[in-house]
């Protein structure tokens, strides 16, 4: 192994360790709120309202929404971790510690992305465990489940990174989650099957990337989906590659970091 590669692996380990230390140190802000929110969803939507709704896609309403709610917490936490951590580093100027060091842009990006993925997964696991108090979970296809959750967490970590690079103030890091991410997630088939929608809105819904992620994950857990899994996974792989190289270009140019 070349000394350059070895140095970058140490640097990667350092960034990931620092990111995990950050979100575990402030766990009341990072790990606890999604747990409480999701318990409320389970109780109100799944239990109380869900009883009135009846079955959906051949499953109880609670069973139907659990995969979507797990995915929702993975999406918001992966995104939120990278956007707040990277923008926080820019705001405090501690990003300069990384910029003056010989760490490669790939290492920086992979480090932050892994931080986001790990937080997304940590929250996903917490929400999954909590869901077991409300319903019985089966896993229809473990490979698809793991692949989809990893790709989704990676995609939203990379999107969070882009948001943080362009953000100039704290408003800029809350605008996208509030006005883009939340509507896309709520309209992404977390709480309903698009088969309930009129044909026109079904077609419109297919343009929502979150719909493909949620349904792919639901397929992995329940074995039912509103979309074609192969297409969705291909889309996610392509999106990951495009976003990754776009982020590397941003880092190399020093946008938002160098003058």
């Amino acid at each position: 192994m070349s000394s350059e590669l070895r140095a970058n692996l140490v640097a990667l380990n350092t960034i990931v360790y620092r990111e995990v230390r950050r979100f575990t140190r402030i766990w009341p802000q990072t790990l606890l709120p999604p747990a409480i929110t999701m318990v409320l969803y389970f109780v109100i939507f799944g239990n109380l309202i869900g009883r009135q709704i009846g079955d959906m896609g051949g499953f109880t309403y609670m069973e139907y929404i659990v995969p979507g709610l797990i995915m929702m917490s993975v999406i918001t936490n992966s995104y939120g971790n990278v956007v707040s951590s990277f923008f926080g580093s820019k705001f405090q100027r501690s990003i300069e510690e990384l910029m003056v060091s010989p760490v490669s842009p790939h290492t920086i990006l992979i480090g932050y992305t892994l931080g986001g993925v790990l937080r997304g997964l940590a929250v996903g696991v917490i929400v999954t465990i909590l869901s077991l108090f409300f319903t019985h979970l089966q896993v229809h296809h473990l490979g698809v489940t793991i692949l989809v959750v990893l790709l989704t967490a990676t995609i939203f970590s990379l999107l969070g990174f882009i948001n943080a690079v362009f953000a100039r103030n704290f408003d800029d890091i809350s605008i996208i989650p509030t006005f883009v991410l939340t509507p896309l997630t709520y309209l992404g088939g977390v709480f309903y099957s698009i088969n309930l929608l009129p044909p026109f809105w079904q077609t419109v819904s297919l343009a929502n990337p979150v719909l493909h992620m949620v349904n792919s994950f639901r397929y992995g857990i329940l074995g039912v989906s509103d979309i074609r899994i192969g297409v969705a996974i291909t889309f996610m792989l392509v999106a990951t590659a495009v976003l990754y190289f776009g982020c590397v270009r941003l880092l190399v140019s020093g946008r938002g970091m160098r003058t």
Binding site: V10, R18, E97, S104, R258
Partner: protein, 310 residues
């Protein structure tokens, strides 16, 4: 002696059109203690920003220990440590973690990083603050933390941008002796400062930058030798009603007990004391009116200002 830093025709024009650097050339020899001085907005921090890769240059070349900024950026970065003007560490991290994390960015394994962190935090008087969040450190401690962080990968060139700004005199002097020790160990040091006394005490060579151009680049000794006249303040034992006549020494009475005298280097002070003794004027003590470098600095910058205005 080989070159630590070589800058050729370096320019920087910011997005708003402001030309901060107008094609500067600068060389710093290995092992030197170099002062880069200049008024606010002269281009010092832009130059340091380019060296530390936080500012993109517009044109020109930069080489540090033979590593070109464009072609070997990683090797160049490994060879320098930067102490910026503003605090730029995570205010929520502990002192020890900040230094060890920085070592990790340079690929230094955790065990070695922890040993070095202990060494530098101890040397800089911060070891007992290792578990304290950095935000609770005093201003002087934060500056020392940035020095420890800059040294953790043991760079050959240390660049300090106003390291003693806002630091009390006692601490400033202890930082001077620490930097002198580092320089004696072979680390090349480039320092910007507004305290000209600091530059005069520490540095062997000096570059003065103003309006994006280098207006002077020479040894401290050579620069100071260009100063022909020094102004002394004499504290008198008995008060005087008016300034005495001292042949070859223009003087004026500042207060009944204080006489300001201009002394030409060629003339020296021996003849001055002879004349004072003849007039029965006893001197209790004498001191320089101002820092010698300060006088030169002001005159060079004023000269350049006149040139720029033309």
């Amino acid at each position: 002696m080989s070159s630590a830093l070589s800058i050729r025709q370096l320019t920087k024009t910011y997005g708003n059109g402001f030309q901060a650097l107008k094609g500067i050339d600068l060389d710093v020899a290995e092992g030197d203690f170099f002062a880069l001085l200049g008024p606010n907005g002269a281009g010092k921090s832009t130059t340091i920003g380019i060296l530390s890769t936080l500012v993109n240059k517009t044109s020109g070349t930069v080489s540090i220990f033979g590593n070109d900024l464009d072609r070997q950026p990683a090797a160049l970065k490994r060879s320098i440590g930067v102490v910026p003007q503003e605090f730029n560490f995570n205010q929520f991290e502990k002192t020890f973690d900040i230094v060890v994390t920085q070592a990790g960015y340079y690929g230094i394994p955790a065990k070695v990083a922890k040993e070095r962190a202990e060494k530098y935090l101890t040397q800089l008087g911060l070891w007992d603050k290792r578990d304290v969040p950095s935000r609770s450190l005093s201003g002087g401690m934060k500056r020392r933390l940035m020095i420890a962080r800059a040294l953790i990968h043991e760079p050959r060139l240390l660049i300090l941008d106003e390291p003693t700004a806002g630091v009390d005199i006692e601490l400033r002097r202890s930082m001077w002796s620490f930097l002198t020790e580092l320089n004696e160990q072979g680390i090349t040091i480039i320092l910007t400062t507004h305290y000209l006394e600091e530059a005069e005490q520490l540095c062997r060579h000096i570059g003065i930058i103003d309006h994006g151009t280098i207006v002077e680049n020479t040894s401290m000794r050579a620069l100071l030798s260009t100063l022909h006249v020094e102004t002394f303040l004499l504290d008198l034992k008995r008060e005087l009603a008016q300034a005495p006549t001292l042949l070859g020494y223009p003087c004026k009475l500042i207060s009944p007990h204080t006489l300001e005298v201009q002394v030409d280097k060629e003339a020296g002070v021996t003849a001055l004391f002879g004349q004072l003794a003849l007039q029965n004027i006893e001197v209790q003590s004498l001191r320089n009116k101002s820092n010698r470098l300060e006088e030169l600095f002001v005159s060079l910058v004023e000269k350049n200002l006149a040139k720029v205005a033309v």
